[in-house]
Symmetry: C2
Subunit: 196 residues, 2 copies
DNA sequence: CCACCAAAATGAGTAGCCTCATTTTTGAGC
DNA sequence: GCTCAAAAATGAGGCTACTCATTTTGGTGG
């Protein structure tokens, strides 16, 4: 008998899941989403090709699984930074800035937004990511004092963030520093909310 | 000899292009983007499977090719409606509303946004669609009086529009009427711009 | 310790987008 | 009208995400 309540089966699954996450994270980091095949991931994780899809419903879900933790961390960091701010405008900027900073690794950030918004609607890791976005919006609305208008402004802030994260991929506005641009757009939105 | 300057070759290509566009439009309308195979499109257009890809680089490009005209028409309609408005806030809303109205056919609108933002960066019809978005933003910025802040607000308005078009797909905020929501968010953004 | 069942893993197979070596068509020069 | 080069079309085949019938494994009751 084991000190843990988990049997061998559950432990094996956790371990396997761990291997899969690590393999996927490494390969996506090395060569990007489209540069990696699910075969390669399953090989590096030392599981059969079909086994991957028992842990994540699609390649996109695999990607979300790997990157959700980063988003969670960024939101936490933002929350911590925002707590130190008095001014709502600065607080909101502090909340979203860490998420934007991730876009240094911009390829991944754009792919993440794509999979998050467009993946098959029912899947686990997508739902998890969308919940994180919901949490971020709730925090923003809260710092704006709550209410329908605040929730609306928060939604706009996410819309801005989303587009700026995707931007590098489109290659349309190559010059601007996205973090600075985020600040300016968010400032506008917050002013619009307060001018109600 | 022909009264037209075009030779047989150019005419054949135009005609073929026409058949392809029609076939793709019909099938996408009937069964949606993922419900249609490129095989089916090529069969209905009566061309070989490979020939499709001489007219559009990918299935996504095919979709953009078909739907760019709709966006162009919506932008034109918005421009006409906006011309009749005095108030900048109302004018901006008039500019974007027709684009949102398309989202009655919401499945397509979301797919269009996806392909537009995430398709391979160098392709023809994607560039065409992005140019249309650029034009829409320019018109918005113009109605706000021009300048960097106006351009920024215009960009935010597109971000809002984009997210609302994608919304039905994510299934996250199912209740709200997106057109009304668009009006409210845009109103906030415009107020934020004017409060500068 | 064995028999049995449910959960998990497997990997060969399928579907569908797209490529590319080959064939066909077009038009120009003679 | 004939020849030839360039452009266009073709469709068999490659590649890769994903499925599913079969096999393996782990746990449980006797």
């Amino acid at each position: 008998m084991d000190t843990e309540a988990t049997g061998r089966r559950a432990r094996n699954m956790l371990e396997k899941r761990e291997r899969i996450v690590r393999a996927a994270a490494e390969l996506f980091a090395e060569r990007g989403f489209e540069g990696v095949t699910t075969q390669e991931i399953s090989e590096r994780a030392d599981v059969a090709a079909g086994t991957l899809f028992r842990y994540a419903a699609s390649k996109g879900e695999l990607f979300l699984m790997v990157h959700n933790e980063e988003l969670r961390a960024a939101i936490q960091a933002g929350a911590a930074a925002a707590a130190a701010e008095q001014d709502p405008e600065k607080a909101v900027i502090a909340l979203v800035e860490p998420v934007m900073q991730r876009a240094r690794d911009s390829r991944s950030a754009a792919v993440y937004q794509r999979e998050l918004l467009f993946g098959p609607p029912t899947e686990r890791y997508r739902a998890e990511g969308l919940a994180l976005v919901g949490e971020l919006e709730r925090r923003i609305a809260e710092r704006l004092g709550g209410g329908a208008d605040a929730a609306r402004a928060a939604r706009t802030v996410f819309a801005v963030l989303n587009l700026l994260l995707v931007q590098p991929w489109t290659g349309v506005h190559p010059g601007a520093d996205p973090v600075e641009e985020l600040r300016l757009q968010v400032a506008q939105v917050v002013r619009g909310f307060r001018a109600r």
